[in-house]
Amino acid sequence: MTTEVATKAALMIEDLRVAIEGKEILHGVDLAVRKGEVHALMGPNGSGKSTLASTLMGHPRYEITGGRVLLNGEDLAELSADERAKKGLFLAFQYPVAVPGVTMVNFLRLAVNGVRGQDVPVAQFRKQLLETMKLLSMDESFARRYVNEGFSGGEKKRAEILQMALLKPQVAVLDETDSGLDIDALKIVANGVNRLLGPDLGVLVITHYQRLLNYIQPHFVHVMVDGRIVRSGGSELALELEAEGYDGIAGKNGSGKEQ
């Protein structure tokens, strides 16, 4: 990795080691995502992909034991999740959390105000919310439902992309956003993401399957096995994976074992 990349990358992950309850899960991960780029991180279940996603966002259960993460050159280690969000980082959760009794509209307004650091006028917010929901084929009634409560798999993932659209991050990490979706829902979600792509956004798409990458074209593909990135390449690497499987790509390291 060159110094030039390091200085320009919006998200810079250097030799990152992460432990949960004293057990090391990530054993030194290097990755750089620049604005305008889409990176795919692929790997079998239990390889550490979601650990990386949660760590980037600052989940208190994950302990950084070595290396560092920089967002626009700033070390994230000491920042809480809300501070990271305010600095332009977004995580689309693999398992979005239900918050009973809190309506989507109320939650989204507080989130937008929190990230922007100022209160957006209600009328302006509503207009933006309704327009964005329409793009994601979401009914207006969605805004009045409780956060993720009773949502179908597809509704949860669309709601994550809705939040991404409203919060306008500089770096977005999509953690298994394709899991649990049928092909129609997958297309809606992928279209939603594609609409947000542009020169001001860097994206890290974490996925187990190649199929999402048929709809969201990555510039780079990385393969993670057992807490390390074992291969990096262009979009053709995803096709190679599809053909040969993780075992073929990663050699004997790629056992794909569950943790």
Binding site: A81, A85, F93, V99, G101, G114, V115
Partner: protein, 443 residues
């Protein structure tokens, strides 16, 4: 104003209160009878099963003195203390208002159209004269008797102030009636009483608010009794809103006797007090009576709250639906005990009881004790209790969206209470609760 502050809880104080309010003989006799019961009953201790988790041995009851002051009307709303006017629950409109100060002053207003229909709203002391038969027939005789407990006896002897609402048959009061009790005299012992009598097919909403200066330095004792008598086919919504300061000890006994086909909606909101013991009992004595009993309690630093509820199904085809939710911060402590009692003739009854507790800190503690006494065999009875901390995953999710910890917790608490607040069709109350809790979460 000079107060005739009595010396402690004594027979002399009872006599002084009876004199000050110019009691008729029957009432004076009842006070003395209650005092006799009081003298024979010791204060409960942690040895008593019902008081095992609420220790009142540290309270020096003799440090509080009842006020024996002749009732004195305040002519205009604007003449009430500004601090009190500021805390009146803001409703878009109200049908009537009773304000009772702890120095004998009171203020009453009632929509003249309702007065013309025979609705009576007064202080209870005035009610003794205005509606002697109603007061005599209901006051601490059918619902809360002085023999019920030490505190009921104390109250029976020393009550002063409070409100009387009487609604004649078939009269509907659309907008809420507000009753406000204001404690502002240091070390005062106040014994407010609310008596609500709805004749058949009448309808009313009664909001009962207890307020004192905020902060911990103001100490006072409040021993209240609430007696609700919704007659056949009537609709009664009763809300008790405690916003007492955190140096106030409050003991409250509320009982409803619901006749045939009554629709009863009860809500107990507890946001204040140093130590609060609230007994809420509902007797469904007529078939078809239907009671909703909601509770919303928020407690923080050093507060102790103890709510015990009774859902008593005396008649068949009655339903009760209870939901009490408590959120605790810092080292607050809560006790909830809920009894469902279904008499043997109360077939086809349906009782539901749920108590949910949210602990916002490791030091907070909640206990939940359900009790069932079911003598009928063809009934439905469901109960459940949960006690748990804030879900860290919820917190992380909200924070990942840019909400700081305080806002995230506030939203979780708001969501937690939503199940209750969603069922309160009084916007002013809902907003007041939300604002108070938001403020308390920042303290």
């Amino acid at each position: 104003m000079t107060l005739q502050q009595t010396t402690g809880l004594s027979r002399a104080a009872v006599e002084a209160v009876a004199r000050a309010s110019a009691d008729p003989d029957w009432l004076r006799a009842r006070r003395l009878e209650a005092w006799a019961a009081c003298e024979q009953t010791p204060f409960p201790t942690v040895q008593d099963e019902d008081w095992r988790r609420t220790d009142i041995s540290g309270i020096d009851f003799d440090a509080f003195a009842p006020v024996a002051a002749p009732p004195q009307a305040v002519a205009r709303f604007a003449d009430l203390p500004a601090a009190l006017r500021g805390v009146l629950a803001e409703e878009s409109g109200r049908a009537g208002l009773v304000v009772q100060l702890d120095d004998g002053r009171y203020y009453v207003e009632l929509d003249p159209a309702l007065a013309a229909k025979g609705v009576v709203l007064t202080t209870l002391a005035q009610g003794v004269r205005a509606l002697p038969q109603v007061v005599r027939g209901h006051l601490m005789t059918r619902a809360v008797r002085p023999s019920a407990s030490k505190f009921a006896a104390l109250h029976g002897a020393l009550w002063s102030g409070g409100a009387l609402l009487y609604v004649p048959p078939g009269v509907t009061i659309e907008q809420p009636i507000l009753s406000v009790t204001w404690l502002a005299t240091p070390q005062v012992a106040l014994f407010p009483h609310a008596l609500v009598v709805l004749d058949s097919a009448a309808s009313a909403t009664f909001i009962d608010q207890q307020v004192s200066p905020p902060g911990e330095r103001f100490a006072a004792l409040s021993v209240g009794v609430v007696e609700l008598f919704p007659g056949p086919g009537s609709n009664l919504r009763y809300v008790t809103l405690s916003e007492l300061g955190r140096g106030v000890y409050a003991f409250n006994h509320q009982q409803t006797i619901a006749e045939r086909d009554v629709q009863l909606n009860l809500l107990a909101v507890g946001l204040g007090g140093r130590l609060t013991r609230q007994h809420v009992e509902t007797s469904l004595v007529g078939p078809g009576a239907n009671a909703e009993m909601l509770g919303l309690v928020f407690a923080a630093a050093d507060q102790h709250v103890d709510y015990d509820t009774v859902q008593e199904h005396v008649a068949g085809h009655t339903t009760s639906d209870l939901l009490y939710k408590t959120a605790l911060r810092h080292n607050a402590r809560s006790v909830y005990s809920g009894l469902i009692r279904i008499h043997k003739d109360a077939q086809r009854s349906d009782a539901y009881q749920a108590n949910r507790n949210l602990l916002l800190s490791d030091e907070a503690r909640a206990d939940s004790i359900p009790k069932l006494e079911i003598e009928a065999n063809d009934v439905r009875c469901t109960h459940g209790a949960t006690i748990g901390p804030v879900d860290e995953e919820q917190l992380f999710y909200l924070m990942a969206r840019g909400l700081d910890r305080v806002h995230a917790e506030e939203l979780i608490v708001e969501g937690f209470f939503h199940e209750v607040t969603d069922r309160i069709p009084l916007e002013g109350i809902r907003e007041r609760i939300a604002a108070t809790i938001a403020q308390r979460l920042r303290e």
